[in-house]
Symmetry: C2
């Protein structure tokens, strides 16, 4: 790639501004969904955050539900990318699980609003949204299922429970974590060690 060219970018212009209006909208939506919850967040406020009025939003997104789906998709994409990257070149089943857990937790606790929305804002009364997102979430879950399957556990150890315990502990940490305490990677390491029995 040439240094000054960007694939699929708008034609170069001296003072071009737009770049990605939609991305700004997604950022604002993720933030509002996280702070106030999906149904308490308003399209007006999201629009205001990016400097437009409510009506103008609908030029970029079809509905509030679509906006929620888009935030989830981006969030899952980011988490998956971080975990996949963290696994590259790491050997040994326990080390791999620890690397994945640390990456998962880092994105969750320090990765911004998208990941938090993915975990907390999937309203029960929007079945259409849940249906659209189910495959993505399942695929991510499979990633950890594979990692746990590789562990050299004592025969009879319930691998499903081990996975659910670790993931539950990691995901729930978002409700007690405060910046300034143990860093995400340390928490993840600790949880994996406790699971391994070598804390």
């Amino acid at each position: 790639m040439g240094a000054d060219t960007v694939l699929s970018a708008p034609p170069a212009a001296a003072g071009r501004r737009p770049a990605n209006r939609r991305a700004q909208i997604l950022d604002a939506a993720a933030r509002r969904f996280r702070r106030h919850g999906y149904s308490a967040a308003s399209m007006r406020d999201i629009a205001g955050d990016v400097g437009m009025l409510a009506g103008s939003l609908y030029h970029h997104v079809a509905s509030k539900e679509d906006l929620l789906v888009a935030v989830h998709e981006e969030g899952i994409r980011r988490i998956s990318a971080a975990v996949t990257a963290a696994l590259a070149g790491v050997e040994g089943p326990w080390r791999r699980l620890e690397a994945a857990a640390a990456a998962h937790l880092s994105v969750l606790l320090e990765g911004g609003d998208y990941a938090v929305v993915v975990l907390r804002e999937l309203p029960r009364d929007l079945p259409a949204v849940r249906r659209r997102l189910a495959p993505l979430r399942d695929a991510y879950e499979d990633l950890f299922r594979g990692l746990v399957d590789e562990l050299p556990l004592a025969a009879g150890t319930p691998r499903r429970h081990a996975r659910l315990m670790l993931m539950g502990a990691l995901n729930w940490s978002q409700s007690w974590y405060r910046p300034g305490g143990d860093p995400p990677a340390a928490i993840a390491r600790s949880f994996v060690a406790l699971l391994r029995g070598t804390a």
Copy 2:
């Protein structure tokens, strides 16, 4: 107490109906808060569930926020009562932790709407509600802190992380649990065993 008298009950009457109108309202609110989330649940629907109109609700509760606080208080009370009862007469630190975890999980997964609301519906943008509930939640947390402190863990084991891991795994289970799978007590036993390193 005499068999036919009840402390602090309304004066006995042949066909008395009211008994506990407020309790019915709380039940309906807990259900609606759980199903739709606090902000998507409407006072109109809650009123309708108990056969009255929206305005009449305000004879029993001061506001929607008060209703949420009341549901939380009742939920925490139920969970605490179940765990305390489960601990009675149980000896041995691991057995006690397991009993508490099983009781906690049973209420959470099979105890109805109150407990679920306690875990899931504490909106970030209602600081007044959070303030009012903080002491209750902390007191409950202390109960498990005490149980974990009693465990004979290897020196250096991070007890705080052990507690957070277990509680996180238990609390998160509400997002994947489906009736008909492993019963709550079995899940709790499994998690405690994994923590203990004897799965």
